[in-house]
C-alpha cells in the first residue's frame, strides 16, 4: 500500500467517524443547529452527485437536474398529503416519479450533447417549473405543500419517526451513504467503464460497439434516481415540497458544487457542496453578498484546478509520492484533456 492510499484511507476513516459522531460531537463543539446543516449538506451532496454522474462520468452537462429533485419532493409530499401513503411508499413514489420523468425527458435530451444538451435540460426544467407554479391545486404553487410526517418504522407500540432529530440524521446519513456506495460500485463496473469511454470519446465508443444513445439514457435515468432520492429526502427533512426547488437556479448551484468539488470523482460532490454550504451558513449572517465568494471560488477553481478540489488533492498526493522518484507530469495533461470539445 502506497503512502497516498494510506493517507486516503485514514482521511476516509476519520471522515466516516466524524459523520457517525455528528449528533453528539457537533452540539458539544458548536451547536445543535449545525447538525441539521450537516444533514442538509448530505442531501445536497447527493443532488450534486447526480450532476456529477452525468458530467463527470458520461460528459453530459445538465442544467436541469432540479426537475428530478422537484419530482422526488412532490412524489413524497403528494403521496403523503393527497394519497395518504405511509412513509416508504411515499419515498418510493418520489424516486419512481423522478426516474420516470428522467426517462421521458432523457429520450429527447440525450440525443443532444454539449450546449444543446444543457439547453434542452434547462428548457425541460423550466416547463415543469411553470407548470408546477400554475397548477396550484396539485402542487400548492409557490407556497408548496406542507405535510405531517408518518412514522418510518413501527414495531408493535414503538415508532421511529424523522421527528426525532438523531433518528432523522442517521436516516439521511444511511440513505446518502448507500447511494454513494452504489455510485462507487457503478464507477468500477463494466457499465461505469463504458460511461467513462463515452465521456472521453463518443465517436470512438460507438465504433467499438457501445450503444452510446442507450448508455447515455441509462446514465440520465440513474442521475434522475440520485436527484430523486435527494429530493425525497429533502421533502422529509423540511416536511414540505415547493415548486421553487425546481427552478434552474437550484440546478446551476449543483453544477457549481460538482465542478468545484471535482467532476468525475466520487467525493467531489461532497467536498464542493460542503464548501459552499458552510461558506453560505457562516458568511450569510454577517454579509449579504456571500454569492460573490461562491462566484470567485468557482472561477478560480475552473481556471486553476480543472479537476476541482479533489483533483488538487490527488495531484498533491501524487507529487508527494513521486517526489522521491520522478517529478509529476500529470498536471498539464489534465488541463489539455478538459478543453476537448
Amino acid at each position: 500500500m502506497s503512502a497516498a492510499t494510506a493517507i486516503n484511507r485514514v482521511m476516509m476513516a476519520a471522515f466516516a467517524a466524524f459523520l457517525v459522531s455528528v449528533p453528539w460531537s457537533v452540539p458539544a463543539l458548536i451547536n445543535s443547529f449545525w447538525v441539521s446543516v450537516i444533514a442538509e449538506i448530505l442531501i445536497w451532496s447527493l443532488f450534486a452527485a447526480s450532476v456529477n454522474l452525468l458530467f463527470g462520468c458520461v460528459g453530459l452537462l445538465s442544467f436541469g437536474q432540479a426537475l428530478y429533485f422537484g419530482f422526488g419532493m412532490y412524489g413524497v409530499a403528494i403521496g403523503i398529503s393527497d394519497l395518504g401513503l405511509s412513509f416508504w411508499p411515499a419515498f418510493g413514489l418520489g424516486i419512481v416519479a423522478s426516474m420516470a420523468m428522467a426517462l421521458v425527458t432523457g429520450i429527447f435530451a440525450v440525443r443532444l450533447t454539449w450546449h444543446y444538451f444543457a439547453i434542452i435540460t434547462v428548457v425541460f426544467s423550466l416547463i415543469f417549473y411553470f407548470l408546477a407554479l400554475s397548477n396550484k391545486w396539485l402542487t400548492g404553487g409557490d407556497d408548496g405543500i406542507n405535510f405531517t410526517l408518518p412514522p418510518t418504522f413501527t414495531f408493535g407500540g414503538t415508532k421511529w419517526a424523522l421527528t426525532d432529530p438523531t433518528f432523522q440524521y442517521f436516516f439521511i446519513l444511511t440513505t446518502v451513504a448507500l447511494c454513494f456506495w452504489l455510485m462507487h460500485r457503478l464507477i468500477g463496473s463494466p457499465l461505469g467503464k463504458a460511461f467513462l469511454a463515452i465521456r472521453d470519446n463518443d465517436v470512438r465508443a460507438s465504433l467499438i460497439g457501445l450503444n452510446v444513445y442507450l448508455l447515455r439514457l441509462i446514465a440520465f435515468v440513474l442521475a434522475g434516481f440520485l436527484a430523486g432520492v435527494a429530493g425525497a429526502l429533502f421533502a422529509f427533512f423540511g416536511r414540505y415540497a415547493s415548486a421553487s426547488y425546481m427552478f434552474y437556479h437550484v440546478s446551476g448551484e449543483a453544477v457549481v458544487w460538482a465542478i468545484v468539488g471535482g467532476a468525475g470523482t466520487l467525493f467531489g460532490p461532497i467536498v464542493g457542496t460542503s464548501i459552499f454550504i458552510i461558506v453560505r451558513e457562516v458568511v450569510s449572517s454577517h454579509w449579504e453578498h456571500h454569492g460573490l465568494i461562491v462566484g470567485i471560488v468557482a472561477i478560480l477553481v475552473v481556471m486553476f484546478a480543472p479537476k476541482g478540489v479533489v483533483g488538487l488533492w490527488r495531484q498533491w498526493l501524487t507529487s508527494l509520492s513521486e517526489r522521491t522518484v520522478t517529478p509529476a507530469d500529470a498536471a498539464p495533461v489534465d488541463i489539455k484533456l478538459r478543453t476537448e470539445p
Binding site: P190, L191, L196, D200, A205, S206, I208, A330
Partner: protein, 259 residues
C-alpha cells in the same frame, strides 16, 4: 467464398453541392489486403464513414459478407465485426492503456453489469494482458492513454482492433504522422493481422501501400479511377500521371505559384 467481404452498390454521399462519394460500386473479395489511395478529397474517408455508419448515405447500399448493412447504427455495424480506426488517432485519453483495451473487448456485449467490479472479470483481463504483450505496450499498461507518444497511441489503436476480434478492419491512414521506425513496426503488425483478418487500408505513404497491399483501388472525386494489383496500378498511365508521377511536395509548390 464467392461472396465478397465488402460490396457497395451505387453508394453516394453529397455534402451540399459536392459529391464526395459518387455512385461507387466496389467489391472487395475476402482474404486479401486492400488499399485505397487517391488525392485529398477523393472521398476515401467518407467511404469509410459510410461503411461504418458514422455518415448516412444519400443513396446506394452497402453489403458486408452478403448482408445489407445500409443505414445501421455505428455500434450495430461494429458488433457485426467491422472495426475501424480514425484518421486522427482516437482513443479514450483519460482511461489507462489497459482500460482502453478492456472496454474495447467488452463493448460488444449486450449487458454491461452495473455493480459488479470490472476488475473481477479474470478472463477479460488475461486477454488484455495478451494483447498488451502482442503490441509491446505491457510496460505502459497503467498510463493514461492521453499521455502516450503518438506512435504508442497508434500501437494502442492496433491493439484495440486486435482485442475486438474483427472480421473486417478498416484502417484510415494508420501510419500518418509516424516516424520511419514507428511506421515499420506498424506495417509489420498490419501484415501479421492481414493473415487472419480482412483489411482495407487508406494510406498516403506509397511505400507502405506498395509494400503491403495485395489489391489497390485508386479513388478520385468520389469514384474509382482504377483498381488492380500493385503492379497493374504502378503501370497504369492515368494513375501514374495523376498520383504517382509527381511527389506531393511539388503540388504545394505549384499551388503556391498559382496562389
Amino acid at each position: 467464398m464467392s461472396e465478397p467481404v465488402l460490396r457497395t452498390e451505387n453508394l453516394t454521399r453529397r455534402f451540399g453541392g459536392l459529391v464526395a462519394v459518387d455512385n461507387l460500386n466496389i467489391s472487395l473479395p475476402g482474404g486479401r489486403l486492400h488499399a485505397i489511395i487517391g488525392p485529398n478529397g477523393a472521398g476515401k474517408t467518407t467511404f469509410f464513414n459510410l461503411i461504418s455508419g458514422l455518415l448516412k448515405s444519400d443513396g446506394g447500399r452497402v453489403f458486408f459478407q452478403g448482408r445489407d448493412i445500409t443505414g445501421l447504427k455505428p455500434h450495430q455495424i461494429s458488433r457485426l465485426g467491422i472495426k475501424r480506426t480514425l484518421q486522427i488517432k482516437s482513443v479514450f485519453p483519460q482511461l489507462s492503456v489497459a482500460e482502453n483495451l478492456w472496454i474495447t473487448g467488452q463493448a460488444g456485449q449486450r449487458f454491461l453489469h452495473p455493480f459488479r467490479a470490472a476488475s473481477s472479470d479474470r478472463a477479460a483481463w488475461e486477454k488484455v494482458e495478451r494483447t498488451l504483450e502482442q503490441i509491446g505496450l505491457a510496460g505502459l499498461a497503467k498510463r493514461a492513454a492521453g499521455t502516450l507518444s503518438y506512435g504508442d497511441v497508434a500501437l494502442l489503436e492496433i491493439g484495440m482492433a486486435l482485442i475486438s476480434e474483427p472480421k473486417l478492419l478498416l484502417l484510415d491512414e494508420p501510419t500518418c504522422g509516424m516516424s520511419p521506425a514507428e511506421t515499420e513496426r506498424a506495417v509489420q503488425k498490419i501484415r501479421e493481422l492481414a493473415r487472419t483478418i480482412d483489411i482495407v487500408i487508406i494510406e498516403h505513404d506509397m511505400e507502405v501501400v506498395f509494400g503491403i497491399a495485395s489489391d489497390i483501388t485508386v479513388m478520385a472525386q468520389g469514384s474509382i479511377l482504377a483498381s488492380g494489383t500493385p503492379k497493374q496500378i504502378a503501370d497504369d498511365e492515368r494513375v501514374r500521371e495523376a498520383y504517382l508521377g509527381r511527389p506531393e511536395d511539388e503540388d504545394y509548390v505549384e499551388e503556391a505559384v498559382h496562389a
